[in-house]
Symmetry: C2
């Protein structure tokens, strides 16, 4: 258990779903930590020092040793602090949790972002199709209350992107990528998940989040003209 | 330890670097297994049954329970069979091994393939630049005999792609993406690694591998005309 608050630090950005994953994990484990918000587009010396390869958030720093990549950070946190496990105990179940988290990152995150940030209409249609197909595959994987069963786990935390960030696509472009009608089980999961007290406290406020992405989208459109 | 050979099965394809990773891990652990070669472009019922999401090799099947994604398989194998560990024992070192393996997959594998299978010359230049930059970053990470120190580990096994598959780019397109002059440390590592007895026994023979990718490349060029 971290007793010295100075030992645990997170370099983050409020708008990032990847940072939010780490926040949820730390709250779940009841780890106190120092949070340092990074300015986007203006890389701090600390960020460059601790994540020289990508210069991106999140960076998790434990006793001055930095770790990047949100899923790698979650694995580390789960190994170091044993309370309220994130990964299942059984090795096969762990492999499946890793598989589905990777699936969300590889097949859903990128395609969903691109349904907003793509100019070419044909290309955009392709990304909509990709994201839709991947969400359908995941829909069939919802079996219990959470992906983790009765408790949230690695896949639930990864999927915060689906529950909270994908609905923003509608606010920005009017495209209903994620809806109750299309994905009833995934939608129910998202409602349960977003109402989990730990998750609720870890989410960035919605209004400024929408404003941030709307501004990004408008900037993107202006630059593409 | 797997005592019954029937319990451990690998669906693979000789030409796949991802399958080769699993083969190296299984040989390192001295696990006996049944290997079933898959015909590319002609998905077997077994492949579709055991990897319905991607329908791709490798699929590792342990007591009828399938796992896909080579790095997920390596983690599983390392958890189930403790002898000759693949991941470091220390959690921070484990996180770094995971980070660099993910780096290889995200930044080197795709870009390297695309230096061959891209028609547009500008696009191709971009992929060459990406792969070159990523290899330079990795060059600075070579510190001991192997990435794992005195023994091969998770990163070395992931990087079999660099040691054995990237040099094929030269055979196919005459582009020297990976050379001793440009990456002396990475090149020395590759020679040590390829001469490791476990690795040596796990690699597919080079001549048919070159022939396979040459034929693919010619097919690709013909289809792009």
């Amino acid at each position: 258990m971290a007793t010295n608050q100075e030992d645990v630090k997170l370099l983050g950005a409020t708008v990032s779903p990847f940072v939010c994953r780490v926040k949820i994990a730390l709250k779940l484990k009841e780890i106190e930590y120092k949070y340092v918000e990074q300015k986007l587009g203006n890389k701090s010396e600390e960020l460059i020092k601790y994540n020289p390869v990508y210069k991106k958030v999140p960076v998790f720093i434990h006793n001055d040793k930095p770790i990047s990549e949100s899923l790698v950070i979650l694995e580390y946190i789960d190994e170091i602090w044993k309370q309220n496990p994130i990964l299942p105990n059984d090795s096969y179940q762990r492999s499946q949790a890793r598989f589905w988290s990777k699936f969300i990152d590889d097949k859903i995150v990128g395609a969903s972002f691109k349904t907003v940030f793509t100019i070419d209409e044909k290309e955009r249609e392709k990304h909509i199709e990709e994201a839709t197909e991947a969400l359908h595959i995941l829909e069939n994987e919802v079996k219990g209350k959470y992906f983790g069963g009765e408790e949230i786990n690695f896949v639930d935390i990864t999927a915060v992107f689906i529950a909270y960030w994908i609905p923003l696509v509608y606010d920005i472009t009017n495209l209903k990528l994620f809806s109750e009608e299309k994905y009833p089980k995934l939608y129910n999961w998202s409602q349960e998940f977003l109402n989990h007290p730990i998750v609720k406290e870890s989410l960035p406020p919605r209004v400024p989040l929408v404003a941030f992405f709307k501004a990004r989208y408008e900037g993107f459109l202006a630059a593409s003209k």
